[in-house]
């Protein structure tokens, strides 16, 4: 059986002592090669869960283990360095740097990992080609359409072959056709270049592109 890329042990989070917990006692295992969709209504804590998985936030209780490493036991620098090499992000709001070119945006993770030429250039071109935007390599990110920008974000999320890809409502700002293309591309690339992936979405159509669907609600995380 493939090893667990990600494991959640009894994870709990609440925003303030006087408010009900967002979630309590969450358990989850994500295996190598698995692509999971997490659905839930607005405000249920999907993005918060994503932040906890990425080490951008700390849980009130429980553990997050990425390849067996307990994120809750690491300091900020250690989490950041782990995130640098092991996690990729695709955001709803794209979050590319508008003043950089497409190629520069995609290569950011490689720059952080100090990958130098010619490997840097070669991998960037390969990834741009894989997502179908190689001709746009030298264009400024601000000059692209929404669908093109999201492809840039997907390429950036996968160029360093992370262990885990986290996609937070990646098609929230796209038209249906672009959304469908993006979801298909995301699945293909996660399978090809990452250890595992989690897609956060409130759309059933989007969730259907995953191998497994879980629902996050007041009762926890369940099929």
């Amino acid at each position: 059986m493939p090893e667990a890329v990600l494991r959640l042990d009894n994870l709990s989070k609440r925003f303030s002592p006087d408010r009900p917990a967002l979630f309590e006692g969450l358990d989850l295992e994500l295996r190598q090669g698995e692509y999971l969709a997490v659905m839930g209504e607005s405000g249920v804590g999907k993005s918060t869960l994503l932040n906890l998985l990425a080490g951008l936030d700390k849980p009130d209780a429980g553990r997050v283990l990425l390849d067996g490493i307990d994120l809750t036991a690491l300091n900020d620098d250690a989490i950041t360095l782990l995130r640098r090499r092991a996690i990729g992000f695709v955001f709803q709001a794209f979050h590319v740097l508008p003043y950089l070119s497409v190629a520069q945006n995609v290569a950011l993770p490689l720059d952080l990992l100090a990958v130098i030429e010619p490997e840097r250039g070669q991998r960037t071109r390969e990834m741009l080609a894989a997502v179908g935007i190689l001709p746009l390599a030298n264009r400024r990110a601000r000059d692209l359409s929404g669908g093109e920008v999201q492809r840039v974000a997907i390429a950036r999320a996968l160029i360093h072959r992370p262990r885990l890809v986290l996609a937070d409502e990646p098609t929230g700002n796209l038209d249906p056709r672009s959304a469908a293309q993006t979801l298909a591309l995301l699945r293909t690339q996660v399978k090809a270049n990452a250890g595992a992936g989690i897609l956060i979405t409130h759309s059933k159509t989007a969730a259907d592109t995953a191998d497994r669907i879980l629902v996050l609600d007041a009762g926890g995380l369940h099929p």
Binding site: N51, A54, L56, A93, Y99, L100, P109, D111, L112, L113
Partner: protein
């Protein structure tokens, strides 16, 4: 480990380069202005330093040449001592060489300035100044003639004289012609002076049998300090044994406070430049918070982000400092070429001083400028690194509550420390604690801005007007940005207010002082500081007899050396009696002391009080006519003309002590209806050397003095303007950044039906509220800083007092102008942002 470090450094450099280049592409104008602000601060500091250093070097060299290779200088009052003292000292076995000198500042016909003339025994002087004999050479015996003089090359250039020409000097009331035998080389005496044979000088200047200086070289092995102490006990009254270094340092130390103040002004320029870096970087960080949060999410550590942002600031500093150092050298070279290198002080004239290469100093300024920019960038870098990336990605201004809490506590502590520092005394005559108080109060007040801003915004009531309420809500939500804009206005405006109050107070006090000291219609004076021109009893009678003259008050001024380490004090003998003398002075303190027998009254200036520690009722012994004459201090008066101090006694007391009835200054009251011009012509006709006399109406002198005052403060006025411009630049940056960042918000407001003019009105409202609060805060802080400037820094630097006064109309006008400019800036930035397509504007990323 090494590999890890190398790859880490490479990653950091890569990200730093990306961030900096992106900034250069996106915000070139702002970066240029920030670089220029740093450059300006560094240039001013470097220029002031270079000019002062070059002038001091030149001055020191000139003074060194003046005293030659002597070990001790025996110096007496200007009217000298009996030359028998020279014989006695020359015979002392501890002395290997002695050179008698008659050193006088001689009045010149047709000129208001004087020429230093040295009467030397050239054979003896050559032992201490070998180059002098070489220069004079074969003309040595020609120099023995009573009408012969050698000029230094500076003097020859200044008076446009060459060998064979005549130099007209004034002795008493009569001109005398001296033949120029030749011109000395530049290296012998760099400054402007003349050299005569000592006997010829004594004869020419009516000082037969008198000397006022003896240069001594000691026998090997003689203890210099012990011998000086011995001489101190046995020399006549008023004659002092001084180390040559003290001679050299005297004029330098007099100008120390002036030079330090200039350096402080330059530092103010550098500080405002650094503050611009701070506000630019802070705004840039706020504007890029999404991008920076993304980098953190992608795996950039806090330390890497902090270093990258700090590197941006240092990059600006490097560029600005490089430009500043070069610009500073250019400015310094221009000042030395076209001015005399004294930067307006007048006491450190170093004509012919040239720019001396000071590579180490320039490197130091480069490093300081870069570091200052780095310091300006450090705080925003730290704040950016601390921001939680998850929150910043989502939106929002960051958590400033904690920042405000910590900063207000530190702010209060700094204010208390600043207030305490202001009470401390000067250090070696410099108001160092005063400067520290200014800096501490400024920082403390700026640190309070976030907390005060939050409090004021919390208290702001709803007005039920959409435009105003939306503006307040926006300021409340983006308190970090609001605080930055405010800090920018507050720093620059408070500095401007402080300087404006100080200069206005000083000008008003100076104006009142002039009015008190210039009550007559005409002022009459021989060239200032000269030792040879004066009016005898007959001359005075001639002046009084000029038609149209109602009354004349004659005065005698001369220099007295009370402390060898300090510049001479000016003695002024005036007033027919003590009551009249006291009535003529702008007294600050006075009390009728119980006069001791045989002790007249003296009134000292504030400088004498501060520098020598004298108080009312103290005994003051003045070296006059070879005796220490006792006086009792009866009052302290304000004197803005003499930095080294002055003492006034009744003319009758002076004549009684010295027998000297001559005068060299006078105030003339005219009969009613008589024209000043006619009396001036008649005066010049009656006195022998009319063209050198200074005759001015009191009103003209008053006006000219105020013009000189205004010119002297040109640098301060310029810095006020720079402070305001930098403040407005900071506001403009903030407004521009805000507008760009809020395009989506504006688009949304336009979508829901807010008119374009309403959106602009909202921006104007934000600008007015921010700047009005900043102006009020800045006014309060500026008044506090001005108190330190007036009562501490000014007093401790120059040893005179100023009456505090507020230029209410000027400040009101500037406040309104600043608020208006801030509003215009906000509107202009808003219009630029609103020019974008509203639909496009709601896209989140751009």
């Amino acid at each position: 480990m090494t590999r890890k470090f190398t790859s880490g450094a490479r990653a950091a450099f890569s990200i730093w380069r990306i961030l900096l280049l992106a900034q250069l592409r996106e915000q070139p104008g702002r970066l240029c202005i920030t670089v220029l602000a740093i450059a300006l601060g560094v240039a001013l500091g470097a220029a002031v330093f270079l000019v002062n250093t070059s002038a001091l070097n030149e001055f020191g060299l000139a003074t060194k040449r003046l005293v030659g290779e002597s070990d001790i200088v025996i110096r007496g009052p200007r009217d000298g001592f009996a030359e028998q003292l020279f014989v006695k000292l020359a015979e002392d076995p501890r002395i290997s060489a002695a050179s008698p000198v008659l050193e006088l500042d001689v009045a010149l016909a047709g000129r208001s300035n004087t020429l230093k003339v040295l009467g030397l025994d050239l054979f003896r002087a050559a032992a201490l100044q070998p180059a002098l004999a070489g220069d004079i050479g074969e003309n040595l015996f020609q120099l023995f003639k009573p009408d012969s003089i050698y000029l230094s090359s500076s003097a020859a250039r200044e008076f446009n004289l060459k060998r064979g020409d005549f130099l007209q000097v004034i002795v008493g009331n009569s001109p005398k012609a001296l033949r120029v035998l030749g011109v000395l080389s530049q290296t012998t005496y760099p400054q402007a002076l003349g050299v005569m044979d000592i006997a010829a000088a004594q004869w020419t200047f009516n000082a037969v049998g008198r000397l006022n200086r003896i240069d001594l070289r000691l026998a090997p092995g003689t203890d210099v300090d012990a011998l000086r102490r011995d001489f101190g006990k046995s020399l006549p009254v008023g004659v002092l044994a001084i180390a040559p270094q003290v001679e050299r340092d005297r004029a330098v130390s007099v100008t120390l406070a002036y030079r330090v103040n200039l350096n402080m002004l330059a530092l103010v320029a550098l500080f405002t430049g650094a503050f611009l870096v701070f506000s630019t970087q802070s705004l840039s960080v706020l504007r890029r918070r999404h991008s920076l949060a993304l980098l953190r999410a992608l795996g950039m550590t806090r330390g890497e982000l902090r270093r990258a942002l700090l590197g941006e600031g240092l990059g600006l500093g490097v560029a600005g400092s490089l430009i500043g150092v070069i610009l500073g050298a250019v400015i310094a070279a221009a000042v030395l070429r076209f001015l005399t290198g004294d930067l307006g002080n007048g006491q450190l004239r170093a004509a012919g001083a040239s720019l001396r290469a000071a590579p180490l100093s320039m490197i130091a300024f480069f490093v300081v400028g870069t570091l200052v920019a780095g310091i300006g960038a450090w705080a925003p870098a730290r704040v950016a690194a601390q921001q939680p990336p998850a929150r910043a990605l989502k939106g929002g201004d960051g958590d400033y509550g904690e920042v405000a809490r910590l900063s207000w506590q530190l702010g209060v502590v700094l204010l208390m420390i600043g207030a305490a520092l202001a009470w401390l005394p000067p250090v070696h005559g410099l108001p160092l604690f005063g400067y520290a108080a200014i800096a501490t109060l400024l920082f403390g007040a700026v640190l309070l801005v976030p907390a005060v801003t939050m409090k004021v915004l919390d208290l702001a009531p709803r007005t039920q007007r959409t435009v105003v309420d939306t503006a307040v809500a926006q300021l409340r939500e983006n308190v970090g940005l609001s605080a930055l804009s405010l800090a920018s206005i507050i720093v620059s405006f408070s500095l401007m207010v402080a300087m404006a109050i100080m200069v206005y107070s000083f000008r008003l006090s100076f104006d009142e002082w002039l009015g008190k000291l210039l009550p007559a219609d005409l002022q009459l004076r021989e060239p200032f500081g000269n030792d040879t021109a004066f009016w005898s009893i007959n001359d005075q009678a001639n002046i009084e007899a000029v038609p149209g003259v109602s009354r004349v008050e004659f005065r005698r001024t001369r220099q007295l050396l009370l402390d060898p380490a300090r510049a001479p004090v000016t003695l002024i003998a005036r007033g027919a009696n003590e009551a009249e003398t006291a009535a003529e002075l702008p007294l600050l303190q006075s009390a009728p002391p119980p006069l001791a027998a045989n002790s007249g009254s003296a009134w000292i200036s504030e400088a004498l009080q501060d520098l020598y520690g004298y108080r009312i009722g103290d005994r003051l012994a003045l070296p006059l006519a070879g005796r220490m004459q006792p006086f009792t201090i009866a009052g302290v008066w304000r004197d803005y003309a003499r930095l080294s101090g002055s003492v006034v006694i009744a003319r009758s007391a002076y004549v009684a002590a010295t027998g000297d009835q001559s005068a060299n200054e006078g105030s003339i009251w005219l009969n009613t209806g008589v024209g000043a011009g006619d009396v001036e012509k008649a005066l010049r006709a009656r006195l022998g050397h009319a063209d050198a006399l200074e005759i001015t109406t009191s009103s003209a002198l008053h006006e000219r003095s105020l013009q000189i005052f205004d010119r002297a403060f040109t640098v301060t006025y310029a810095l006020e303007a720079i402070a305001v411009i930098i403040g407005l630049t900071g506001v403009s940056f903030a407004a521009g950044s805000t507008a760009l960042a809020r395009r989506a918000e504006f688009g949304m407001l336009r979508h829901i039906g807010m008119l374009r003019r309403q959106v602009i009105g909202m921006l104007a409202c934000e600008g007015i509220l921010t700047s009005a609060f900043g102006v009020l805060y800045g006014l309060g802080l500026g008044v506090a800083l001005s108190l330190v400037l007036v009562y501490v820094i000014n007093r401790q630097s120059f040893n005179w007092s100023i009456d505090f006064a507020m230029p209410a109309w000027q400040l009101a006008f500037l406040s309104i102008a600043l608020i208006g400019a801030a509003a215009v800036t906000a509107i202009w930035s808003g219009r630029a942002a609103l020019s974008q397509d509203a639909v496009r504007a709601v896209r989140e990323d751009w």
